[in-house]
Symmetry: D2
Subunit: 339 residues, 4 copies
Amino acid sequence: MNKEVDLSKYQIRTDLAIDYVNENKELKGVKYKTEVVNGIKVTNVELELENELSKKKGKYITLEFEDVTDYKNRDNIISTLTFVLKKLIKPKKNSFGLIVGLGNDSSTPDSLGPLVVKDIIVTNHLYLLNELSSGYKRLAAISPGVMGETGIETSDIIEAIVKKVKPSYLIAVDSLASKSIERLNKTIQITDTGIHPGSGVDNKRKELSFESLGIPVIAIGVPTVVDASIIVSDTINFIYKNYAFNKEYMKDPKSKFTFNNVNYLSKKIKENKLDKEKLLGLVGTLDDEELEALIYEVLNPVGYNLMVTPKEIDFIIEKLSKVISISINNSIHNIDRNK
Amino acid sequence: MNKEVDLSKYQIRTDLAIDYVNENKELKGVKYKTEVVNGIKVTNVELELENELSKKKGKYITLEFEDVTDYKNRDNIISTLTFVLKKLIKPKKNSFGLIVGLGNDSSTPDSLGPLVVKDIIVTNHLYLLNELSSGYKRLAAISPGVMGETGIETSDIIEAIVKKVKPSYLIAVDSLASKSIERLNKTIQITDTGIHPGSGVDNKRKELSFESLGIPVIAIGVPTVVDASIIVSDTINFIYKNYAFNKEYMKDPKSKFTFNNVNYLSKKIKENKLDKEKLLGLVGTLDDEELEALIYEVLNPVGYNLMVTPKEIDFIIEKLSKVISISINNSIHNIDRNK
Amino acid sequence: MNKEVDLSKYQIRTDLAIDYVNENKELKGVKYKTEVVNGIKVTNVELELENELSKKKGKYITLEFEDVTDYKNRDNIISTLTFVLKKLIKPKKNSFGLIVGLGNDSSTPDSLGPLVVKDIIVTNHLYLLNELSSGYKRLAAISPGVMGETGIETSDIIEAIVKKVKPSYLIAVDSLASKSIERLNKTIQITDTGIHPGSGVDNKRKELSFESLGIPVIAIGVPTVVDASIIVSDTINFIYKNYAFNKEYMKDPKSKFTFNNVNYLSKKIKENKLDKEKLLGLVGTLDDEELEALIYEVLNPVGYNLMVTPKEIDFIIEKLSKVISISINNSIHNIDRNK
Amino acid sequence: MNKEVDLSKYQIRTDLAIDYVNENKELKGVKYKTEVVNGIKVTNVELELENELSKKKGKYITLEFEDVTDYKNRDNIISTLTFVLKKLIKPKKNSFGLIVGLGNDSSTPDSLGPLVVKDIIVTNHLYLLNELSSGYKRLAAISPGVMGETGIETSDIIEAIVKKVKPSYLIAVDSLASKSIERLNKTIQITDTGIHPGSGVDNKRKELSFESLGIPVIAIGVPTVVDASIIVSDTINFIYKNYAFNKEYMKDPKSKFTFNNVNYLSKKIKENKLDKEKLLGLVGTLDDEELEALIYEVLNPVGYNLMVTPKEIDFIIEKLSKVISISINNSIHNIDRNK
């Protein structure tokens, strides 16, 4: 309390289902479907059992895209996200939605939720006065703040408000921590399982879910920060992939000309254990989990396991929040805006 | 709903007791005391009965000062306000305070409450973990937003949170509408009667008070906006006062030299009804209430009864919020900071 | 210097030509034309002589509108302003524009210029690298700050930059002080005569104009603040107009039913001097200038001649800045965006 | 130009001298001195020759500290930085300083310069009116923006203003890119050699220096961002250091109890090449430059060589900017403030 700001309080929450599931693994009780819509990769994961992913059963839909600051791309993300939300929410004539913007509006990478809430077209107060225009549904929105700034468990605030105003469903928007450098700010996850802080590490926050609140809870999350240790373990893997790719690819004399333009991560390579150990020593023999654990143990005691965000985060968050608020407005109300 | 922003929703709340009471009038059931502490005028009004003021019984303490952007002045306001709050709150060892920042952080003149909350040293989450440092009391803080942005009645949000987290007292900070141009941004009112939107005009918001919440409610309010009609009626009165002052004062030949430096409002003048009518015609014969009603009727139908704020409001609100947050922190926790 | 912020430094600049000219007066050397385009009233004033208006000769185009926060209205203002700017700028293939955002980004009512600059699509750096996309013109933009925050005369900064980067024309965007309550935030003035601080009161800033910079200077100004004394003198005039309107109108028995819905300012009334004196005494005998002077003398010595802005200024400035930046972008570049 | 925001324009500038010099290397023409003042490590590097560091000759003073958000620490940084600046600036009675805040106020990690400028006590306009209070020196300040938002080379703007207003010295404040994870937000570099974008990578911006401007130029820089590739190469080195430390340390049975509390980076270890290769394979045989080059080549083609900043950057930048603005104000004016 000698400090004005206890930075440890600004924790970012949870992670993505698709980091645990992929096309290569076939898992019991997991339905997996992927398609590309207007350049946006949409992945549907349906967990029918609680399982080793320590993920709850339910639907996890993930949108992957390249660059949210590109105009055309943005319009595509909006139409895809609107479509996904409409299917998931299915707002009926008298349904009453509560949008919850989780996170801290004073911290750029954690401000996604509060920024989205600012742009939601709320109507509940008009509904109560019988002044709701046709085409609009009953909607309220709140930014409960973060525990480090309120001193109150965020889920307690939400629970109390839900009990009082009795919405029929809840949509929570939040910043997430990414489990891979490739997802950072390029993924939106929508799930009907709620927000599950339990899947994070030392994050004891209570969940917002059907189980805890008694109403359907949809969570929209975007990974906006990543641990330094994940950047490092991803890169160590990339070092090997790049090496293996070059080794295989360089046999072909034609490759010389196109070499620099090729994304080596997009090609499948066969792992060669001997090669990997030669290149990376004992570190090269570790599996993903062991490598992450090693790096965590190396960075943590000296205080450098920073959680980081790209330096352009202000611009990215602004675009992401517009994409999400517009999609929520369009999917609930009977409108079609793009600003 | 054709508009993005329904401006009518950004209403500012309530008004000051000292606009209804003054040294000249002696009122039944009203105790009135005024003193000057370090250049700050402190007025204590105690209403022992509900009465014609349409104010609730309780204590109303008002601090009046000249310029909150002056360094030295600010330190004096902080120490006076801290003293007043300490006396009113009397925080005990185990008391648990909830600071509520009313208003809209997106609207400068209405952002006082949310800005104060940003600087409150909250400790409730540490208390619950048994990590409260010595010298600190249990404190939480929240900015519930405004109905125009949440769609939810603000008092409903507060009520729900109070019920859930069970604070032992509540302090609400809010921007007020001024009933006189002289008070604007130069007055802080502290009262133990809560926030009473009923005293405003068409403001149907429910009150936050001991009666509604079951715990002591202290309200800290600063008038940051004023109706155009009040500016006009005040000025019409000033026109007469200036005239009367000049008439009386100009008899004295010595006055010529100091004339321009004299504040004519600081001198008491005797009203001369004939003079006033000569100067201001029928308008000069109206009493204060009649004049205000006339101006309201003239400005309202043409849409010019604007609620306005000084153009320097950004700088003033910043200073006011610091003064109040520092005073709250110092009066509850056992600390003495000035930043 | 005992204060952190010298508020007197945040002065707002200049005023509108249409406050001095109107359809009723015919003035030598003044061409006057007015039309309504998509609900926007467009007034063209062309001064062919320097004259008693203390306005420079040149074109003054004024857009008047009701509510900039209304979606449809906003689209109309954008298309009208784009049309006006295109005619005035006539950007040629190789012309190089410099947009200057005057004002203080820390002070909401004075932040219009800097906010507009944030949204200008600048291309000069791309032009210099031969990377200018087709459809785009060469454009730069700068916010020089205000003297109270830089310590430097703003026109000196602009002059220095113009000399260095050599644009072929300049567009300055600024907040203005309104000379009437009716114009406040409901008027955009575009002129090819530059910014003329000389027409303001005690504002010694040097002008930005063809004469001082050697290139065409277009100024876009919006009145965002108004003196308390103007609110008062306008209202005193309204009191009489309202009285005269009622007197005339109430003879007609049919009027009883529609009375409250009629805008008395929209009807022409004949002034009756005796009536006016009866209603307002000596004050009623003053002409507009005398009345303003009286009120100024009454309010100034007691410190209440505040310059004020409506309490919704944050929302209004945001919409106004979007309207202007989009119009500038669309009129210079070969694009047609509405966000 | 299909994008609204060209993120590549928000580049952060230059780097630190102490990343190239250290106590272990003795370099010709380099004076090196280090001391600890109030817990702040102060390193003085004086380059007497241009040399292989590709750094200009002159003084480089570096302050290293642990946590700028700690109150007591902050006061120590302020007093040390004030002392250093006083020695370097030596402001005379009539000297006229221009503070330049480089960077982009819309991008949190790049907003340090503009934020510092907001809090500088400027006086040049008062000096020109002969209203300078005693104790204050002549001072101006400007935030020229970034080329991506102005379309103008920033050094051109500064050069033009310097030519016009003729300051006698210039202080430029800027965000830097860090060459090591350990420096990030924990270092302030002050140099009298100006800002030298030439030492950055593909950053063609012209320098601000005595050579280009004809007046002394002091640069104050804080590394606020770091390349992902540096995080990775630092961590790979830490993996080995941690391994070597454990190997040596674990022989001692007493160590078991304190093990987890020891900072392995603070102990000097002897490098064992065989061990390093065993642990890290071929990668372990690379020297620092080779390792960085490898990682750059691995991350760049797939777009993941992000420049990143800690997720708490909003809070850190706010504290850093206060520390620097207070130190500049205190070192130039004859005042001693801590807010």
